[in-house]
């Protein structure tokens, strides 16, 4: 399944804003912002985020891939998803 990076970015942003930023719509989320640093995603949230990614892009995330460099910003997620699908 080939999906371009802009589409992945758009889908991820929509999911994160809809699910983790209700009530904080005025806050900006840059593509390289750390979800942890900004306090957007907690430990329950990261499980939801990985479920969303696994379902949407049809691959599974191994335990050892649960790392901030793969999952902790929109940019990191896009790179990780592209790598997994490539």
């Amino acid at each position: 399944m080939a999906v371009d990076q802009d589409t992945i970015k758009k889908d991820l942003r929509e999911f994160i804003v809809d699910n983790f930023m209700v009530g904080s719509e005025n806050e900006t989320l840059n593509d390289d912002d750390s979800f942890m640093e900004k306090g957007i995603v907690d430990s329950t949230g990261v499980l939801e985020l990985t479920s969303f990614v696994e379902e949407k892009y049809e691959f599974s995330i191994d335990d050892e891939e649960m790392l901030p460099e793969n999952l902790d910003s929109i940019d990191n997620l896009v790179k990780f998803i592209s790598r997994k699908m490539g």
């Binding site: 699910n19 209700v22 640093e37 900004k38 050892e64 649960m66 790392l67 901030p68």
Partner: protein
Amino acid sequence: MKIQSLLEKAAREYRDRTAVVHLERRISFGDLYRHYSKTASFMKALKLPAGERVALLWENSIEYVYLFFAIQRAGYVVVPIDTSLKPDKIAFILNDCTAKGLVFHGKFKRHLPAVLNESRNLEFILSDIALDFVNDDRTKYLLKQIIESGEEFGSPDNIDSEGHNPNDAPHELTAIFYTSGSTGMPKGVMLSHRNLVSNTLATVEYLKLTARDSVIVILPFYYIYGNSLLLTHIACGGCLVLDNRFLYPEVILDTMEKEKVTGFSGVPSNFMILLNKSSFPERRLEHLRYFTQAGGAMAPEVVRRLIDAFPQKEIYIMYGQTEAAPRASYCPPERLREKIGTIGIPVPGVELKIMDDSGREVPDGDSGEIVIIGPNVMMGYWNQPDEESQVLRNGMLFSGDLALKDEEGYIFIIGRKKEIIKVGGNRVSAKEVEERILENEAIAEAAVYGVPDDLLGEAIKASIVLRKGFELDIKELQKFCRSRMAEHKIPKQVEFLEELPKYKSGKVNKLVLAEVGPKK
């Protein structure tokens, strides 16, 4: 002896030893004391009357540790605030305890305008960021300026630590920890110096903590179990290794190995995530001496898996509650294998009785309510005499947990009187979640209860009856809840029913829902 004397004593005895590690930062007891001394002097000079409440909204960090003690040293009552709360709940707490000061971490600046708008009593705000963006006439202070140019109140060798005898710790309010109440609104648990000092020293004793110990801290300090880690390790001259990234378990395991920690403390969901979703069972963790677990019952199967994965480590299963400052019982590790399912025996200096509804102690083997007696029992609930009288009678704390004692005095919990769901260590009031859900116009009836969950220990499930002509799906309901409640309170499972099963009294029969309700 006051609670801050623990830090002053450690600064005298362990001046050059590392007190706190947070990622790349580390601080010695001597420097921690200097920061504490400057911030305490500054806050004292604000000349608020002694006993005024000052809220602390700050993520686990070196700053949290010295600010927590500094507020108390300045003569005020510290009120740690749950950093996951929405602005309306934060404002509720500030108003409820009539906080005059808010010490807050810039990470949460998005909450500030809404919080300040609703908070009636605040006179000053102290933060690590400049607050120019806040259009508000309250006095604002910058932490950096205080640390750079503030005055200390003297070396730890010369200051009066207000007595050294733990038994002389005053019955004077020093901290209020808010916890979910069965009514849905947070209740302020009032703790005295005596409550905290006695429980800290009892915990140091049974865990055999010394200055050689260091603990990885993944639990937030605003949570009483996290606070207990802070106090016990300051008390013994040990080291707090802070890492707020538990959402990435491998990162935590790497930190544990790198920093050679001797202790790991978690709630059931932490252990389940580590056992199920990480390389934890394969790690050697050769410096680790012990695990502690509290914050809700951990399934016997998970305890067995932990023992099997780490047969050489000491595993302390513990029980307590915020109202007990917090520790009431522990199981000595050498007895755990034969007593799986127990919460153990009372911690030193505390007595636990099993009582029936009339307040009489029941014979061993019979069930009743756990009643806690000792210097750790809270002073009461802030401004909630009715709630207080339900749990505090003649100085005894009625825990709400139903249990029995075996012939050796080991206690086994069999149920709960109150409808509190423990989600990954957070206490969630079923009533509160039901009330929020019912604010949705599509919903006619809602019942909320806990169901077993592999990762969270207990997860929130909602059974919903929709109003005629309305439609709603799980995602829409969860989104609605998210706009009103913290993430851990959002129902993970939702089922839609034609009607809710009820007792003759009309009360919803949640036992039927939890046990035989359709799974989704």
